[in-house]
Amino acid sequence: MLLCRSIHIASSISKFVAGAVLLLSVCAAASDLDPQVLMKERKQNYSGWGSSEVALTMTLHTASGQLSVRKLRTQALEVENDGDKALTIFDEPMDVSGVALLTHSHITGADDQWLFLPSLKRTKRISSSNKSGAFMGSEFAFEDMSSFEYEKYKGISAREEMMDGKSVYLVEMEPDYKDSGYTRMLTWLDKNHKQPLKVEFYDRKNTLLKTLILSDYRQYPNKAWRAHVLKMKNIQTNKDTELLFSNFNFTVSLNDDDFNKNVLNRIR
């Protein structure tokens, strides 16, 4: 904005048409700092992967220093003009081994979710409105685990900022969906791939609740960027959860049929 204003003064001094053209182009470049545009680019640089498979390890640390580990696998399918589909299979802890969660997320309206309970061989449709609930007792809420859809957020502001000696974009956004546990989020996006390096989550009372640090970004052959280490720290309780992604596979070529609810009773 500052840059745009100074050019504006410069161009008002010069009476040349070329100056006006310069003004327009520079202002257009500066308006790239439209939060909505950055959020869209963030989604674009995450997309184009078709389908994927990945292993997740979640380590929960309590304030007293205890550890608890969860292991899961996720298969996902990119859906054009709608939210992605995901199938998550739980491996650890052992008492939930074989439990699976199928999600058909939607840009507008509630997501469809089915839970498979292996002891009964039962598939149960569940409500997806528990967005703010803890995912497996961790510091990640269900809404933190779902894929980023820019249409589900309202961009509030965007500006450049320094973070760890590096220039980044700071984007403030508000959840534009029902039942979120947050009033707003501050996201620090890498200037190159526009993926978040850090996120601050503000609770319903607008006080800082959690900080997420994302690192070890790698770009896969299909151009999609992925972070491999996510550290979520709850500022209010001092508990934290580390989430590691490993063995990303973008060559699985899954399709719609792999995400029907009937696949739940045969997953492994």
Binding site: P93, D95, V96, A110, R125, D179, K261, N262
Partner: protein
């Protein structure tokens, strides 16, 4: 059967691709009321195992083996092993074919398993029918866009087991399962079949199924010569449906059936809701409130516990590291005024252990209620489970 299983297990073991999960469950039940019938025990300790093996033999085929067994200190009839699953699964282009022994679950309700008829119930494990015995089957599944067809051929019938003389939760007279009789001359060889169409459309999940064959629930008959009860298995035709509407915090559920047997034609239903309250405390616990009404057209003639009963329950999920959960449910019978309550508290301990506390309470049991026989069988059970 044993030979086939041994062969299969050795193939799996030798290939080294088998992925195995096993659990051991040590539990103790204490019945604090005087037993109603002579010989019944008040303390019951048992050890159960369950082992599941999975083997992927090719890109389009896999094998699944799931074995269960229990040894019981008090009731020798409760010593049992069961092949829960022994399944070869083939994944075709537009179909899936399963052959072997399997478990199938139909339905949406929480208080009873009304339309769920493929498997016999393991009544030694759970009197309410939540645990299934493995059913020999050939199953063809044809998935469509957001629905599917299932066709079942069930070549062999599994008889129900009953608690022995020393066991609690039994009929006044012990049932001799070895003397089972059948309406069909083919007895357990009668080939049953079933057809089901199910799917989902927006917030609705639905299923409609037809079953023809041996009725899973026996009628208990008295043999005056031997002075014992024996199970009688009649033939039946059943049309059943299940339906769920999933709202934001409300789940609305309905199961209904029409059953036609040689001596009875009747309808039965269970319907109700599950209402969730999320994040009720600072620690993020969830509570669900469940209510379901159960009805059977035969009313007092029905051998079911659920002929005119209201179920009300609470599920409290702590969302803590150990996944602690509490379930409390009460079934109130309008015909007999019986209160049947269940309570279950379970939690993990670390990664490989789990503990559970369970209690059954039978209060104000009406004289003609099928639950009458269990009136003195209130119990509390503690169990410790280890997974490896």
């Amino acid at each position: 059967m044993k030979k086939v299983m041994f062969l299969l297990l050795s193939i799996m073991a030798s290939t080294g691709f088998a992925d195995t999960k096993t659990s051991l469950d040590l539990s103790h039940r204490y019945f604090w009321e005087e037993p109603a019938y002579e010989g019944q025990a008040s303390e019951q300790t048992s050890l159960a195992f369950q082992t599941e093996m999975y083997f992927k033999s090719s890109a389009t085929d896999d094998f699944l083996v799931n074995l269960f067994g229990r040894v019981d200190s008090a009731d020798s009839e409760r010593d049992h092993i069961d092949v829960r699953e022994l399944l070869w699964r083939h994944y075709g282009e537009n179909y899936q074919l399963d052959a072997g022994v399997g478990i199938v679950y139909w339905g949406v309700a929480e208080s009873q398993r009304l339309v769920n008829v493929i498997n016999q119930r393991d009544s030694l494990e759970d009197v309410l029918g939540n645990v299934a015995l493995g059913q020999p089957m050939i199953k063809l599944e044809i998935p469509l866009d957001s629905s599917q067809w299932e066709i079942y051929l069930l070549p062999y019938f599994r008889e129900r087991d009953f608690a022995g003389e020393e066991g609690r939760l039994r009929t006044p007279m012990v049932v001799n399962a070895d003397h089972a009789r059948y309406e069909s001359a083919q007895e357990e060889q009668h080939v049953d079949y079933a057809l089901r169409y199910s799917g989902n459309y927006e917030n609705i999940d639905y299923g409609i199924a037809y079953f023809e064959g041996t009725q899973r629930d026996p009628t208990l008959m008295y043999d005056s010569m031997l002075n014992e009860l024996y199970p009688f298995y009649s033939q039946m035709k059943q049309l059943g449906m299940d339906f769920q509407y999933t709202g934001d915090t409300w789940l609305w559920k309905l199961e209904a059936l029409y059953r036609d047997t040689s001596n009875d034609q009747y309808a039965a239903t269970v319907f109700g809701f599950e209402k969730s309250f999320y994040g009720i405390s600072d620690s993020g616990a969830d509570i669900a409130w469940l209510m379901e009404y159960n009805w059977d057209e035969r009313k007092k003639r029905s051998p079911s516990y659920f002929q005119n009963d209201l179920f009300s329950g609470i599920r409290w999920v702590l969302n803590n590291t150990d996944g602690t959960e509490l379930l409390v449910g009460i079934l109130y019978d309008f015909d007999y005024e019986t209160h049947f309550s269940r309570l279950r508290l379970n939690s993990r301990i670390g990664a490989d252990w789990a503990v559970a506390m369970e209690a059954y309470l039978f209060n104000n049991v009406g004289n003609d209620d099928p639950l009458k026989a269990a009136e003195n069988d209130d119990f509390i059970q503690l169990s410790l489970k280890y997974y490896f």
